[in-house]
């Protein structure tokens, strides 16, 4: 059976586009428009992987990611961040996420409620390149 991927993004066009790319590559997909809906669908549908936008109304991708990792039922689902945040804010977010695990772990644990420092399983920047997206997904799924 093909693997199921949850796309969380507040832009409906992105969900349509990404689901087309996924379908082309043999995956099935479901969409959610923000972090709140994302967590609901996640609990119900138990997808094999989550594609997560960061800047969304109601519940941001970062909050959703942390809540996901706190929940033992979902904490092992791989998450790939798909974001345009670096371009919008001018902050190199990939660097911020991956090159800084040297940040004070105790502080991280205190502020996030997570047991240890944790990072997403993949990261790509918008605009989305279909080839790159599939490559990162395959890596995260260890395919």
């Amino acid at each position: 059976m093909s693997k199921k991927i949850l796309i969380v993004d507040d832009e409906p066009d992105v969900i349509s586009f990404v689901s087309a790319v996924l379908e082309e590559n043999g995956y099935t997909s479901i969409g959610a428009k923000d972090g709140v809906e994302g967590l609901e669908v996640l609990r119900k549908e138990k997808p094999d992987l989550v594609l997560l936008d960061l800047m969304m109304p109601r519940k941001s991708g970062i909050t959703m990611f942390q809540e996901l990792r706190k929940d033992p039922n979902m904490s092992n689902i791989p998450v790939v961040v798909v974001t345009g945040v670096s371009e919008v804010t001018g902050v190199d977010f990939r660097n911020f996420m991956y090159k800084q695990p040297l940040r004070d772990e105790k502080k991280f644990v205190e502020t996030t409620g997570l047991t240890k420092y944790t990072v997403p399983d993949g990261y790509i920047e918008k605009p989305i390149e279909p080839g790159e997206l599939i490559k990162v997904i395959k890596e995260a799924l260890k395919e």
């Binding site: 832009e11 349509s16 586009f17 087309a20 082309e24 109304p57 371009e87 919008v88 605009p127 989305i128």
Partner: protein
């Protein structure tokens, strides 16, 4: 002598009509280190005073011709900073007081005792030096003020320059993000159209094509907005019903509000019947304000709230200015900081991370100004916002 002086040469003018007194004082003061110039009459004294640019004068009061009080008055008229000590007869308090009133710095009585004289001179000299210092300070202060003013002016000019650059920067950045999002949508649509055709999947073709259309729509909307903003125009007024416009816009946005669990409510004043307004313009104003209010709820992170957007109309009769139409759009969404409020109407400014052009409120404000109306906003972070629009009813 009680006071020892340095041999600093202070020039002193001595005026007395009695030569023996003049000679004694001259001798005594010279030995104290003063450079003494003597004059035997008020007239002569004044002449010397003007020629020599003196600061310190000791003058007898009772003199034939121009007396001491006159000398004092004239010296003070020439140089108000000059220190004049008068010499009065013993017990002649009235004259002494008159002298002080005319600006004498001190008086001593005859017979002159050296000690009293020296003390008076010391005091006068101290006053002179203080006056000079004060003058220096004042001049300095003036220079400093001038320098500070110049620096401030330069800083201000720089600020204005930076502000303009910031506005241009914000505008370009805001528009660029918005256009990039449209491009992403177009690319996505193209990908789907291509894939749909190649794989013969008609649903993908349809969806992709719809996506292309939606994004082309967005570009034309943006171009129209930009044109509207850059063009001066007078409102095309017609008789219309403001409550009707509100209902139309609410109908248009109903689904979007519902989708995000936001209650969209209208409170219409039944007394407000017809008005003379640019119908399309006011439609756009309300569309902007109400969709902004909905966005403020969508972007609110406090999910415990029951979100609500209320649109109110009111007909008010203001004393003097006649009938006023009031539109009020209130939401209990994320609210705004003071900084955001400041930027709101002054530049292309969007908080919607590339989903807004920053043009909405600028155009809203423009339309209202063209109507001769007013728009204002009240907001608190986390509590929501109220936008109020006031327009004159102005029937033709």
């Amino acid at each position: 002598m009680g006071v020892k002086r340095l041999t600093r040469m202070t020039k002193l003018l001595l005026i007395d009509d009695e030569r023996p007194i003049l000679e004694v004082l001259d001798l005594s003061l010279t030995s104290e280190g003063y450079e003494v110039i003597t004059a035997e009459s008020g007239h002569e004294g004044l002449k010397i005073f003007e020629e020599e640019n003196l600061k310190l004068v000791l003058t007898d009061i009772k003199m034939p011709g121009i007396d001491g009080i006159d000398v004092l008055k004239k010296i003070k008229a020439i140089d108000s900073e000059a220190e004049v000590i008068v010499v009065t007869g013993h017990g002649d308090m009235d004259t002494a007081i008159a002298a002080l009133q005319h600006g004498a710095s001190d008086f001593i009585t005859k017979p002159i005792r050296d000690e009293a004289l020296m003390l008076a001179l010391e005091r006068a000299e101290r006053k002179l030096s203080m006056t000079k210092q004060l003058k220096d300070y004042t001049e300095n202060l003036q220079q400093m003020v001038e320098r500070c003013t110049l620096e401030l002016k330069q800083a201000q000019e720089e600020l204005i320059r930076n502000e303009r650059l910031a506005i241009i920067g914000d505008t370009v950045a805001g528009l660029a993000h918005y256009i990039k999002n449209i491009l992403t949508g177009l690319r996505g649509g193209m990908y789907m159209v291509n894939t749909g055709m190649a794989r013969d999947k008609s649903y993908m073709l349809q969806e992709g094509w719809a996506m292309v259309q939606r994004n082309v729509e967005k570009v034309s909307g943006l171009v129209l907005d930009l044109l509207r903003y850059s063009r001066e125009r007078t409102p095309e007024r017609s008789v219309c019903r403001p409550n009707e416009i509100v209902s139309e816009v609410v109908e248009l946005l109903k689904d979007r509000a519902e989708e995000h669990h936001i209650e969209l409510k209208k409170v219409l004043d039944a007394d407000l019947k017809e008005a003379y307004l640019d119908r399309d313009g006011i439609h756009r104003v309300l569309l902007n304000l109400i969709s902004n209010a909905i966005d403020a709820c969508i972007y609110d992170t406090d999910t415990s709230k029951a979100w609500k957007v209320t649109v109110k109309t009111m007909l008010a009769t203001d004393v003097g200015s006649g009938e006023t139409i009031l539109f009020e759009v209130t939401d209990n969404g994320c609210g705004m900081t003071d900084e955001m409020k400041e930027k709101l109407f002054t530049r292309f400014f969007s908080t919607k991370a590339g989903r807004g052009t920053g043009l909405g409120l600028l155009n809203t404000q423009k339309i209202i100004y063209e109507h001769g109306g007013e728009i204002s906003v009240k907001s608190k972070v986390g509590e929501g916002a109220t936008f109020s629009v006031r327009l004159k009813r102005e029937m033709p």
